[in-house]
């Protein structure tokens, strides 16, 4: 029995609305919304907070379709393909129709992924319960190897960023013998427990974005499509012939969400390309075709439930947004991992109910008043970003109940993240490495201390061999895919030059 009242409903509603606004504003993401609103979770228990945070998550992912369709600028990376067909539809006077098709496809994607989350997380967690520290170490290594597989064209750079994140997570006191390492004397008090997750992720996701926008001059993009001119309205019959596309796209989105570090843009692109490959009229894609719009939106909302599967069963965040959610759990003293459902059955039910409610709220909040919601993209950035900075400072300062060092940490990681962007070092693998780093070390040391330091312990258990197989397969795939991409790029350049 879960506790549900008016406050839960209100928080979910606020989360969805604020999330949609964040998603609809280009340059602001669901990750940023959750990072900025994390301090509110101090005021409430985790149950109430989850309604807010999951509302922000669902709203943030869904809101991205608004600018993608109206001005051909994806509000979030996950709506990258939405504009391919949504914008041409808007230009020919079908903006509201396109928005409502996208919203309905988003609802389907969200509900489909929720069903898979409900079905697959408990059995996966049960398997993970039999894992010793050896398998846990290898699972984290596998998560890092997937980062490599998905850092297309810069596989080594992605792995480097992941291990750099691991390195940063090791700074501070080692829990086994309580000894400090890699900390200068004058920071020995502030860095006793290492860098705090919340300031690190606010710095990496909010400050970096603000610095990039500042570098670009904080220019606002003008409204493109005219919503008052409506040539053709929305009908649910628009989805006739889209059933296979809906299921395939939602499944692709959920599957991509399960893979750590991949992100919504890959879900959207993969689903769009598959829809085009299977379509009997691929030449229509990119000209305002409903199929393309449905594929992109069903996939990116499919991501929401998918990304929670590895988080709640293995303790591995599926994307940057769920990485921020780890912060929310940590702040409330809840450990995510194989024991999460067993130890927190009520919380598991809260997550499922909150996701279900937030998906329906997203639909009702967006579907009918979409004309008015669409106007949020007119909000000037120079008015919004100062307030975001204000909220970031509160978030960082309150992460340890009032510590100015954490605000400095946020600034440091903001500048570091900005530097990473400049040298093309991906931030998401860095953050995932940072989150998993301490566990990677813990399970490594736990594995070898019982066997006198012998590394052969990692090759003695059958389940370990299975995970090694997965690691080798993911690296082999990464190498093959990277070479294939390089060949395609070379062929493309050759063709262009010819």
């Amino acid at each position: 029995m879960i506790d549900f009242g008016l406050l839960h409903l209100l928080m979910a509603f606020v989360g969805v609305v604020v999330g949609i606004v964040f998603g609809a504003l280009p340059g602001m993401t669901a990750t940023m919304a959750i990072a900025v609103f994390l301090p509110l979770t101090y005021a409430y228990d985790l149950h109430v907070s989850l309604f807010l945070l999951l509302g922000l998550y669902v709203g943030g992912i869904s809101g991205g379709l608004v600018p993608a369709i109206l001005v051909n600028i994806p509000g979030t990376p996950s709506s990258i393909c939405t504009g391919f067909d949504g914008y041409p539809m808007a230009k020919r006077g079908e903006a509201v129709r396109a928005l409502r098709i996208g919203i309905t496809a988003s609802l389907f994607g969200g509900l489909f992924s929720l069903l898979l989350l409900f079905l697959f997380t408990p059995p996966l967690a049960r398997v993970a319960l039999s894992f010793s520290s050896v398998e846990k170490f290898l699972i984290i290594l596998f998560a890092l190897s997937i980062i490599a597989a998905l850092s297309k064209g810069n596989m080594v750079t992605g792995v480097f960023a992941g291990f750099l994140g691991v390195f940063f997570s090791l700074i501070g006191q080692f829990a086994d013998n309580n000894k400090m390492r890699m900390v200068p004397d004058f920071l020995s008090v502030d860095l006793r427990n290492g860098f705090q997750l919340l300031p690190v992720l606010i710095g990496l996701f909010a400050l970096v974005q603000i610095l990039q926008e500042a570098e670009g001059g904080m220019r606002d993009d003008a409204m493109g499509a005219d919503l008052s001119r409506e040539v053709r309205g929305f009908r649910f019959s628009d989805f006739k012939g889209q059933v296979v596309n809906l299921f395939r796209s939602a499944f692709i989105g959920t599957f991509v969400g399960i893979l750590p570090g991949v992100g919504g843009s890959a879900a959207s692109l993969l689903s769009y390309s598959q829809a085009k490959n299977f379509s009997g009229r691929p030449e229509k894609y990119g000209t305002g075709c409903v199929d393309g719009l449905v594929a992109s939106e069903a996939a990116n909302n499919g991501l929401t439930g998918g990304a929670l599967i590895p988080l709640l069963s293995l303790g591995i965040p599926g994307d940057s947004t769920t990485a921020v959610l780890v912060g929310a759990f940590m702040l409330q003293g809840v450990q995510v991992g194989p024991l999460f459902i067993t130890n927190n059955l009520d919380l598991w039910h809260v997550i499922l109910s909150a996701l279900l409610l937030c998906n329906f709220l997203m639909f009702f909040v967006m579907f009918y008043p979409i004309k008015y919601i669409a106007s949020v993209i007119k909000l000037p950035k120079y008015r919004i970003f100062p307030v975001i900075i204000l909220l970031c400072v509160i978030g960082a300062y309150s992460s340890r109940n009032g510590n100015m060092f954490d605000v400095w940490t946020m600034l440091f990681f903001g500048l570091l993240g900005y530097f990473f962007v400049k040298i093309k070092l991906p931030i998401v693998p860095f953050l995932i490495g940072f989150i998993l780093g301490k566990d990677l070390e813990k399970y490594f040391v736990d594995s070898i201390k019982g066997v006198g330091g012998s590394l052969s312990v990692f090759f003695t258990r059958p389940m370990g061999w299975v995970i090694w197989g997965l690691i080798v397969a993911s690296i082999a795939w990464a190498v093959y895919d990277s070479k294939r991409e390089a060949r395609r790029a070379a062929a493309g350049n050759g063709g262009a030059q010819a």
Binding site: F160, V166, A214, L390, L411
Partner: protein, 151 residues
């Protein structure tokens, strides 16, 4: 070779060197990859002309101003507290992001006797109003309603 020396007293220095070793190895691979690519394409390994840190048309005033204001904000909170410093800094950020160069229009706008007709004057006034409104609302919400510790 397939064994590491484990002692509880020094176990805190067991894992960091392994990670540093992996990072060094990956860095070497990255450098080698770049060297091979540059050689294949006939480009110099370090091409100073093609290397640029900032985007073309980078607004350095807004970029460095943002960082400087942030540092100022941290120090200001220590001395003046959260609310007062937030009002000032949010206003300064709004002006910075709107465009400092547009402040030049203000003396002429005031001298004309009809300052409201000038966009820059209006924007500065709105920024001031919003910075007071936002900062006070956020302070009230977090510090008073949710009882979250603020500087």
């Amino acid at each position: 070779m397939f064994r590491v020396s484990y002692k509880p007293s020094t176990s805190h220095w067991l894992f960091p060197p392994i990670i540093l070793g992996i990072l060094a190895l990956l860095l070497a691979v990255m450098i080698a990859q770049r060297a091979i690519e540059c050689r294949r394409k006939g480009r110099p390994f370090i091409n100073r002309e093609a290397m640029r840190f900032f985007e073309p048309g980078c607004d350095k005033l807004k970029l460095f101003g943002s960082v400087a204001l942030f540092v100022l904000y941290i120090y200001a909170m220590e001395f003046a507290g959260f609310l007062a410093s937030s009002i000032v800094v949010v206003f300064l950020y709004s002006v910075l992001f709107f465009g400092v160069d547009r402040l030049k229009e203000l003396p002429a706008a005031i001298a004309s006797g009809r300052p409201w007709a000038n966009g820059a004057f209006k924007s500065v006034c709105v920024s001031l109003l919003l910075s007071v409104l936002f900062s006070t609302s956020v302070w009230f919400l977090f510090a008073r309603v949710f009882k979250i510790t603020l500087p």
